[in-house]
Amino acid sequence: MRFLRPHTWAEALGAKAEFPDALPLMGGTDVMVDVNFGRARPNALLDLTAIPELRTWAPDGDALRVGAGVTYARLVSELADRLPALAAASRTVGSPQIRNRGTAGGNLGSASPAGDAHPPLLAGGAEVELESVRGARRVAVEEFFAGPKRSVLEPDELIAGFRARPATGPQYFAKVGTRNAMVIAVCSFALALRPGEGVGTGIGSAGPTPLRAYAAEEFLAGELADRWEKRDALPGPVIGEFAELVAGAARPIDDVRGTADYRAHVLRVLARRTLTWAWADHCEGGAGCA
């Protein structure tokens, strides 16, 4: 096995162009498990941990640009105020050791439907930055996933990072697992309210890819259009319809972690609860504290 360890981003892009089957390695929390279980025997590993700029984040216009190598632990400690749902999702990832190594960029690279970072990135309207020696491009997160553990990443491309606007309203992430910590999602849901603008959603582990509930977003944005300023209680039927539309957007299956029926049920409950919490936060004028 070839082991490539570039020290600059340009070298990394060059290496990926030369060895398109090289498997990028950052935290190693997915890649090394596959290697150690004998499931992955890549011809080459492309170690990206020596590239400093991947580990940085900074404001860029009205958005935040977060490098692919920023760990979950840092998303929690440094960005919980600006990306609260992503920070909440990061808190649910594995153990402290995993959070110290694992990255949202790596989560995107694995493109698992159960990736914890995906629902908040979907709800937050994030874009993924992809780059190769041919150039750079941005892809909306919902267009990034192509199937279970597949994305639109070209063989010569690397994930440079993602861009997301800081929260302008309450955000929540909730994840159901059959254990109270260190568990892969049976099902998860993220909600972002953007007062005066609209609503974002993200569904995890209930379809072949992470999903947005478009109809639910559209419905709720319409219902909230003249309520953002009034800040009055949301009628029960609105919350119920939103929950039904979220569940209807999922395409869950029965598997070892749970049944399709249970997942759809969970989405109804989580959609109802997160909307209730977020709207209450909005009415109190505060931001979500998920």
Binding site: F37, F173, G236, V269, T276
Partner: protein, 737 residues
Amino acid sequence: MTTPRVGERTGRIGDSTARPDGTPKVTGAFAFSSDLYLTGMLWGVTVRAPHPRAEIHGVDVGPALAVRGVAAALTAEDVPGRAVYGLDVPDQPVLARDTVRYQGEPVALVAADHPETARRAAAEVAVDYTVLEPLTDPRRALDDGSPQLHPGGNLVRHVPIRRGDPQPTAEVVVTGEYTVGMQDQAFLGPESGLAVPAADGGVDLYIATQWLHVDRDQVAAALGLAPELVRLHLSGVGGAFGAREDLSMQIHACLLALRTGRPVKMVYSREESFFGHVHRHPAILRYEHGATREGRLVYVKAEILLDGGAYASTSQAVAGNAATHAAGPYEVPNAHVDVYALYTNNPPCGAMRGFGAVQACFGYESQMDRLAAACGLDPAEIRIRNAMREGSAAITGQVLDFPAPVAELVRRVRDRPLPPQRSTDLRAMPGGVGGTTHGEDVVRGVGYGVSIKNVCFSEGFDDFATARVRLEVTGGEPVATVFTAACEVGQGLVTVQEQVVRTELGVDRVMIAPADTSVGGAGSSSASRQTYMTTGAVRAACAKVRDRLAGRDPASLGDEVIDATVEWRHRPTSPLDPVTGQGFAHVQYAFAAHRAVVDVDLGLGLVKVVELATAQDVGKAVNPLAVAGQIHGGSAQGLGLALMEEIQVRDGEIVNPSFTDYLIPTVLDMPPMSLDVLELADPNAPYGVRGVGEPPTISSTPAIVAAVRAATGRNLNRVPVRPEHITAEGLSVEAGR
């Protein structure tokens, strides 16, 4: 209880004593069997059948041998001695020859100079299978149309118990059918060892196991060697819980070492480990309890099916335990019990902490709650009314001639103050860090579970332990050395032997020699028996030493060495009558009671266990700190069975062989525990000790499920309880809100 200092090497019977391996295990410095290494050693790998049932028409190891770096590739043809092994019934092939009976059954072995080379070569071994329809439903194992998986049929053992009136009637009758899923021991140190060929034609095997001598005898038989040519040395054990009682890679590593003339190391991966050891028997239990209106038991009827999987392992003894414990720690004059252990093509099942008593306890404790409801009684009260006591007769007719404080244990957990209402910390909510509720739909429940468990080997088994104690003066100071083959598997025996010697001989410096087969057998570190047995043996050996000391000060021995060996037995037990199941089958019973308090999110079916209160009689706490550790650990393992731990098997194939999907409790799942440790000495046991390790595992499961039932109103007749079992009955309510 005082907290001992790390490294302190004092402590007599009854003192809390720090384990010498505690700090190295926590810091990662402890050498486990998977850390064994010798220069020039080879790595052994197992070729396993992918099918739960198949015929083998040929095994071609040629392609594996062609891989550079491969030193040997072996099949069933290469087993020089007995081709089968097994703890009670030698029915399991060392390597499958013409038939595969479970997914993952070993078919061939490869040794190479690098583990990756060995794995790649193993993948080259070509096996010609005809895949057959597996028998996976134990309820169909005895049907006429079902395939016979073994020459004697599919019944491993039927244990009947008949006591009292064969046609009893009662004012209140409750029935129930319960199911227990397949739990795994989930020890953290996978199966591993190192076999080193010796100049005398024998082999030295460094191994993590529970029972050195029975391993040795099975290895020697398969190798066709005299037992004294097969020497086993206990290596660092990373947990056992019953899963190391059967052989895994022992014979395989020795075969490869003797064939190649080189040391051979084998280490299972985590995934392979799920295929490499037996699991807890899944069970289907049908119960009928009859009682007076006042809640006094009149009769218990039970039929229990235990899915033994492909091979017998310890299924016979597990069935005996399920039967003799079928009515629980309660007085009941009439009993009609049938337990069947069956062969199927599911993964083999055998010993796991609780050993048949776990499955029965989920059944009879669920029934006691139903009976309490039917009689309008509090769940604790009905248990107290029917509790066994000293002098009670079990359903086997055995009269308990030792303290049996069942009612007191229940009272103690019942009378504990209840924990405060939940905090606002999200991590204290059901769902934990997932942030799934802020308290909405969360309901609280309280439940009870009481266990009974036999200690030591039963049903007439010749159960003994050997200890050798040497006393001499070294460096001007008396030093005692203890030699046994007793396995420290994490349970705490490591301090017990020296505590006995200090107590008996008054010598402070005590050395514990490495456990190996150079001394007589100690029996297994299982059945909650090792402290009982080895304490008895070491104490008896010390008495012999003391006799020869004849009152002299040990420091005055000079060059004299006193060396005494004792083979010690507990009082004999008897087989069960094959028709009535009556007999003095168990040397001792142990009891524990749990009260569980849980919060349940009704909307999502998620559970947070808020508190486990436990009371257990241990006879005598040899090392109170270790006793507390055993109760904590056992309770956690029972919590796992209640809420999450299950090997899921579909059509004979394991679908979750990883710690990603086989979940064991984390620190956020395991609640604070309050312990009440009683010490009512058993007059028949050394120092009055009573086995500790198993009872808390048995009773925490039904206590937690009872608490979830109390919180939710759901029936929950199956463990582990999954979230969808809780929400399924409430889906329409939730959806309509």
